[in-house]
């Protein structure tokens, strides 16, 4: 469902006299629906940048990112219009960022319900789903009405993940989703990700820990070599 072709990202720092900082070069890979491709490589090699290029938080310098939509239409995310990207983000493509920043002054439960309500889900139904997921990852009732800015790192991360998967995106980008979780919660979160994958969601992930790669990924891609590992 996703085909990355000769993707290159280079940052031009005009405020530093036009210095060019290369990230990755000529990367090509494919992701099938219902599978997870894990991107591996040392820190600073451009793994997160690659995810951001696909989500279009970064503008790719060269290459194509061909995404097949629900309707079977092919869209090149590297060149799609801003409005097209907004639509796809709302309806199909999810992203779990490494660092969670949320809107201030909105409770955890409201944050979760928002993407469902935006999709037209009934309020009662949205509430039920939000509460189910909050419970599932161990965010108890006392936290539901709290502002996530007061949460611990692990709590924020769990909220971040369920926020991305609550709408069941067709395609999901994950940047270190399990990094700040202890073992028990890591298992829960991995279960959720695997469930979503079993329902057909295609995924690209960046992970630090070997366990997560082992449990979650079907294919691994080494960013230095620019090739599949297996």
């Amino acid at each position: 469902m996703l085909k990355v072709e000769n993707l290159t990202k280079e940052f031009t720092m005009h405020i530093r006299g036009g210095v060019k900082i290369p990230s990755f070069r000529n990367i090509s890979f494919q992701v099938q629906s219902g599978t997870m491709l894990a991107i591996t490589g040392p820190s600073g090699i451009g793994k997160s940048s690659l995810l951001k290029c696909i989500y279009r938080t970064y503008l790719p310098t060269e290459g194509n990112i061909i995404y097949q939509t629900k309707e079977g239409e092919e869209v090149n995310l590297a060149q799609a219009s801003d409005r097209e990207m907004i639509q796809l983000r709302k309806s199909e493509i999810g992203y779990v960022s490494q660092f969670f920043h949320v809107l201030p002054r909105i409770s955890a439960k409201e944050i979760l319900m928002e993407p469902l309500l935006a999709k037209g889900v009934e309020e009662a139904e949205a509430k039920e789903q939000a509460e189910y997921l909050l419970n599932y990852v161990g965010l108890g009732k006392t936290l539901w009405e709290m502002y996530p800015s007061t949460f611990s790192g692990g709590e924020k991360q769990r909220l971040n993940i369920i926020h991305a998967i609550i709408t069941k995106p067709r395609f999901l980008l994950l940047d270190e989703p399990t990094a700040s979780l202890d073992k028990g919660y890591k298992g829960k979160v991995m279960e959720l990700i695997n469930q979503l994958k079993a329902e057909g969601t295609g995924m690209v992930g960046v992970f630090h820990d070997k366990d997560a790669i082992e449990v979650l990924s079907d294919v691994q891609f080494d960013l230095i070599a620019g090739d599949y590992v297996r």
Binding site: F11, M13, H14, L59, I86, Q87, L103, R105
Partner: protein
């Protein structure tokens, strides 16, 4: 993309203060920033084109003097543009250039279809009239005549904006800056305009009051699905509110994109400077 409905289209807006001369009319490269060194004409807006889609919030950032307010004033018809075309989908199916309408038609568009919240509440409010009357002014302009009805509506709107009903009869000059701003917002949305312009609405307010005003803007956007253009030099405000953002400099749009892309991977030197100036 399919099924995307525009709300507002602006094409090639030019606003000149001065007559221009042979030099600057033909070649904008002679300009020093946006000023012609020969005839001293200021080019406040240079070929600004944009489209806003229904229900969307478009952010506009740029430094002082970059043309943000010129753009807003032209859109709200507080300022006569030199050139340009302006279409609203909610007016004559977007077939008529708003800039070319008669005074009366423009008045209709302003009173029924647009709302404006100025940075300076003195521009948007009558400081010596009661707050209720300020909101009612907009209702009267839109043809309401039933006093009891209007009073009800004013009270409802103002309490929705967290202005206590007990103070509705007080003039805004008695209020704090944040409260004045909330009265302005109540007035601007009194007729449920499909399009709302917000020009630096939180500038000069302290943080907790800023938060209240921003929450309110978010709330009315969710409740009424109003299309908005939000001008701010505060990037945090833009990041919180806008899906897409345009960056202006010297009267021109120098960059436009998804708000997160503008913030994290800015392409233009000015945007890079701006984003890196964040504390």
């Amino acid at each position: 993309m399919k099924n995307e409905k525009t709300a507002l289209t602006l094409k090639h807006l030019v606003v000149k203060h001065g007559d221009g001369c042979e030099l600057c009319n033909n070649d904008e490269s002679v300009l020093e920033r946006n000023r012609c060194p020969h005839c001293k004409t200021i080019w406040a807006a240079r070929d600004v084109s944009l489209q806003v889609y229904q229900g969307e919030i478009l952010g506009v950032v740029g430094e002082s003097g970059s043309g943000k307010s010129t753009l807003m004033k032209s859109l709200y018809m507080d300022m006569e543009p030199t050139e340009g075309e302006y279409f609203l989908d909610c007016y004559e199916q977007g077939q008529k250039n708003i800039f070319e309408l008669s005074m009366q038609q423009k008045k209709y568009v302003r009173n029924y279809l647009l709302g404006m919240v100025y940075q300076n509440p003195y521009l948007g409010l009558r400081m010596f009239f009661s707050s209720g009357a300020n909101v009612a002014e907009k209702l009267i302009a839109a043809g309401n005549r039933n006093v009891a009805n209007m009073m009800n509506q004013c009270n409802r709107l103002l309490s929705h904006m967290e202005v206590p009903v007990s103070r509705v009869k007080e003039p805004p000059r008695n209020f704090s800056g944040g409260m004045q701003q909330r009265v302005q917002i109540a007035k601007a949305i009194a007729n449920h305009p499909p399009i709302l312009f917000l020009d630096e609405v939180t500038t000069g307010l302290d943080l907790s009051v800023q938060a209240k005003v921003l929450d309110l803007v978010k709330k009315i956007q969710l409740e009424y699905g109003i299309t908005m253009i939000v001008v701010s030099h505060d990037l945090a405000v833009i990041r919180m509110l806008a899906d897409r953002t345009i960056v202006m400099l010297d009267g021109k749009i120098v960059e436009e994109g998804l708000t997160d892309q503008i913030m994290e991977d800015p392409q233009h030197i000015y945007t890079q400077t701006l984003v890196n100036s964040l504390l």
